[in-house]
Symmetry: C2
Subunit: 81 residues, 2 copies
């Protein structure tokens, strides 16, 4: 059972969400650094989000989705959530 | 420009998300307290989420969605995000 920033990620949902972010980023042809910069998220934090190591906030998900020019719901759908 | 838990909610997205949570909760016939208890979220925190006063985390959104027996993506779609 992974623990992420003090919270349990019992079913790997943060990992799945991070994988969906990575997939959408690659589909957009962006490097992780370019996405972090476009979303105004710290590059190290973005890496942790993509690896499912952070319990990402809604505002950050919205910033990522905006930088990827896709709705946040699309990321959740791709993550099966 | 609202500030929420140290983050800017420039476009009212947290308010829209909270409204979508409230709408789904009422559709499920649950009181705010019942949803908070089912999602294992503090009742005061749930009220702040519904009012858009908290930058809610993905794990808490997933707990709310699970308690409402709906996918998290449906909440984002209803919030127009």
């Amino acid at each position: 059972m992974a623990r992420v920033a003090g919270k349990r990620d019992d079913d790997g949902s943060l990992v799945r969400l991070g994988q969906a972010v990575r997939k959408a980023r690659k589909a957009a042809g962006l490097s992780q650094e370019a996405l972090a910069d476009a979303a105004e998220i710290d590059r190290s934090h973005m890496g942790k989000i993509e690896r499912g190591e952070r319990n990402v906030s809604v505002l950050n998900i919205l910033k990522i989705a905006a930088a990827l020019d896709c709705p946040a719901s699309a990321i959740f759908i791709d993550a099966g959530m």
